[in-house]
Symmetry: C2
Subunit: 198 residues, 2 copies
Amino acid sequence: MATRDTGAEENIKEAAKRIFFVEGKLNATTQDIANEAGVNRTLLNYYFRTREALFDQVYKEALSALSQKMDEVFKAELPFRQKVENIIEVFLEDIITYPFKEIFLISEINSEHAEIKKSNEPENPVFRNFAIEVEEAMKRGEVNRIKDPYHFIINLFSLMAYPVIIRPLNEKLLNFTKEEYDEILKNRKSEIINLLLN
Amino acid sequence: MATRDTGAEENIKEAAKRIFFVEGKLNATTQDIANEAGVNRTLLNYYFRTREALFDQVYKEALSALSQKMDEVFKAELPFRQKVENIIEVFLEDIITYPFKEIFLISEINSEHAEIKKSNEPENPVFRNFAIEVEEAMKRGEVNRIKDPYHFIINLFSLMAYPVIIRPLNEKLLNFTKEEYDEILKNRKSEIINLLLN
DNA sequence: CTTTTGTTTGACACTTTTGTTAAACAAATA
DNA sequence: TATTTGTTTAACAAAAGTGTCAAACAAAAG
C-alpha cells in the first residue's frame, strides 16, 4: 500500500498558528494561511473541509495543549515556591512566543461557530488542588493572606500574560521603545515572584 | 438654513462600540453594525466613507478617551493610596463595562490599515510623574520595594484588566460559573489594593 | 406652500473570499 | 514499468461583503 505523509496537513496548522498566535492576524483569509504554509489554497479545503473547521481545530488543539501543560506544571510534586517559579518560567516563555494565542482563543470562544461544548467535561481538580496548596503556603507565611486562594491563581496569570498581550498598546500609551519593553519583560519573573511570594 | 441632527452618526458609532467592545465581535460586517444601530447599511458609507474609516474612527475615539481618562486620574492631586484606589475604581468599572475594548484596540493597532502614526505625539509625562510618586511611596514604605516603578503600573493594570479579558477562557479552564466569576470580580479591588499596597 | 438642505433608502455593480470539481502529478508497491 | 494510492493543482461556481448612485423623503427657512 502506497502511503506517504508529506506533513502538509500539519504544516497548514502550523502556518495558521503562526499567523494567529504570533502575527495576531485574527481574520486571516484561507489564502493568507495557504501562502504562509506554501501550499495551494484548495489544499486547506481538502484537509479541513471549511475555513471554520480549520479554525476550530486550531482552537481545540491550542486549548487542549494549554490544558495539558497546566496539568503538568500544576500537578508536579515540588515545594510550593519552586512550583510557582516553574509555572512562571513555563508560561511566560509560551506567552512571549505566542503573544496572541489567548486573544485568539477568546475570539473563538466568543464567535458564533466553533461548536464549543458547554464544558461537559468533568471538573478538572488541578486548580482545586493547587488552591489547597496556596492555602497551606499562606498558613506557612510564604504567601500573603488573601480571602480566596483562587485570586492567587488569577493574579499569577494576570501578571504574566497581560503585559505581553497589551504590549502594542503599552508601547503607545506608556511611550516604551521595543528595547525598553523587552527589558521590562525580562524582569517579569523576579518581579512576579517578589510580589506574590514572601 | 435647514439643519437637523438626528444623531444617526453618533448612533452608528455607539452601535459599533457595543458590537466591538461589549459583544467582542471583532470582525463584524457593516451590515451587523447597521442592524445594531437600526439604520440602513448605506448610511455607514454616507457618514464614514468606508468600513475601515469607521473602524479607525472608533479606534481613535476609544484611544483618546482612554488616554484622557488616564490623564485625569493619574494627575489628580491626592494622597498616593487614595489615588490608587481611585484609579482602580475608575478603570475596573470601565473594563467590566467594555471587556473587549482593549482587545479591539490591540487588533486595530496590529492590523495593516489604521494609519496609526508612530507616536509622533510628544511624550506624555503622566506616567513618568506617577512613577516618581511610586518611588516616593516606596520610600515611605507604602509600597514594597521593586526595581522599576513602571512595574507597579504594569502590575496594577494587569491585575485589573486580565481577569476580565480572559473571563470566557477562565470559565472554561477553571470551571467557574458566571455567578462565581462575578463574585471573584467583585472582590478584585480590595484584592489588588491588598497585594500592591502595604 | 415651495424651496432648500440635508437624510435615508433600495437597487445595482464590483470585489473579495470561499468551496467544489476534475484532472494532473508523485511516490510507493507490485 | 504499470498500478495503486494518495497528493496537489488550476479553473470554475457560488456566496458574502463592500461601495456607489439616483431617487425618495423629512424638516426647517423663506
